[in-house]
């Protein structure tokens, strides 16, 4: 049995907490697999219900629709990154070192030992890279934002922006740089694989190492006084 980490997520994201039942955890586990395989567009509750030998109606008892399920997964992911940053930097005082840990955690959130049995962090990262930004690029952003559905991401941005400001209190764009680090990490891992002309990162070497190097170069240059 795996260690019982329970990630706290906004209750509005689900009808019934999937972490609390076998079926719920099954939905999480196999939706990650299926979205990874099909992409969010071709993924349906029908297909998921067949995969897990259940029914559409049963899945609807947990999630209002696939958009909210994706939002749940994405929030889960950012909470996971936040958690990794916390444990990996808990004894570190120098903000520069802290920022290094943050970059490592963002880039390699999937490399870490999986600690929640039913979540495949590596596949989840792939989903976040491919479909993550779709959760807020909708006509419902404002409404969903007011319900706190993007809290995990905003919290992480806050955490990272504070470390950025600790490194250089005069830097004018700590929030933008924080989110830019997340977006760059995800975008360029995607570009390296699918649109190599849009990046300098190459899949021929270790993409993760290259990504870390690039992000470190970025923050060092930008935060130099």
């Amino acid at each position: 049995m795996s260690v019982a980490i329970k990630i706290a997520l906004n209750g509005g994201l689900y009808n019934k907490d999937p972490q609390d039942s076998e079926l719920g955890r099954n939905i999480i586990e196999h939706s990650i697999e299926l979205i990874d395989e099909l992409g969010i567009e071709a993924f349906t509750f029908k297909k998921l219900s067949i995969r897990i030998n259940s029914t559409e109606a049963s899945i609807y008892r947990y999630f209002v629709n696939k958009h909210l399920l994706l939002l749940y997964l994405v929030n889960w992911y950012w909470e996971w990154v936040q958690y990794l940053i916390q444990i990996n930097s808990r004894h570190i005082i120098d903000p520069k070192d802290k920022l290094k840990i943050i970059i490592q955690s963002i880039v390699s959130a999937s490399k870490e030992n999986p600690m929640v049995g039913y979540v495949n962090e590596s596949k989840l990262q792939k989903i976040v890279i491919s479909d993550g930004m779709k959760v807020y690029h909708t006509k419902d952003v404002d409404d969903e934002n007011s319900k706190g559905f993007f809290k995990s991401y905003k919290n992480l941005a806050l955490t990272v922006s504070q470390v950025i400001s600790d490194v250089n209190p005069n830097f004018k764009y700590p929030y933008a740089l924080a989110t830019n680090l997340f977006e760059m990490a995800n975008n360029h891992l995607f570009f390296a694989q699918h649109l190599p002309k849009l990046t300098d990162i190459s899949v021929k070497t270790n993409v993760y190492d290259e990504m870390e190097e690039m992000l470190e170069y970025y923050v060092n240059k930008l935060l130099a006084e």
Copy 2:
């Protein structure tokens, strides 16, 4: 009658070139309006056909589906930005000044005088900001990329990366910085409006001016030797 700029786009993006007929131009004009109003998810050919007093079948004669229509519009936009950069920087020699023009063109592509009667550049920019990245975040990227469907964006990245390398030939990430400029411009205009906690740009002042300032600050710091 407006000046006849014809933007050259990959023929695989459409069944029948919409620039060549009244109905085609109507489809472009009103799809921009309707996608801006509804977002790409709720937009359908049915709704568009009603809006322009035509039929679904007629629209399908021009575009295979709404995804390809969006791809057409997004490519159109990046060609437009490329065009703006070209005419605005045609007499400029210093690469630093050129980069400044590039930033202005990216951020304010919508502020320019409209030169194509049936394209509302301002609404088109809003679409690119909200839905632009969805065109390549699909399971068909590789296939569509091999057909040249992302050429306009890649061309622009090439153009900008060359100027970046002219400014500082030792900078290791010219392509990444180029795409990062586009993505930042779009993302943070979106964040400023909908998720202000994710950015330092504020809608209270002139967002476009602030955006330009931020991007200039970024490139200056990053490209300083």
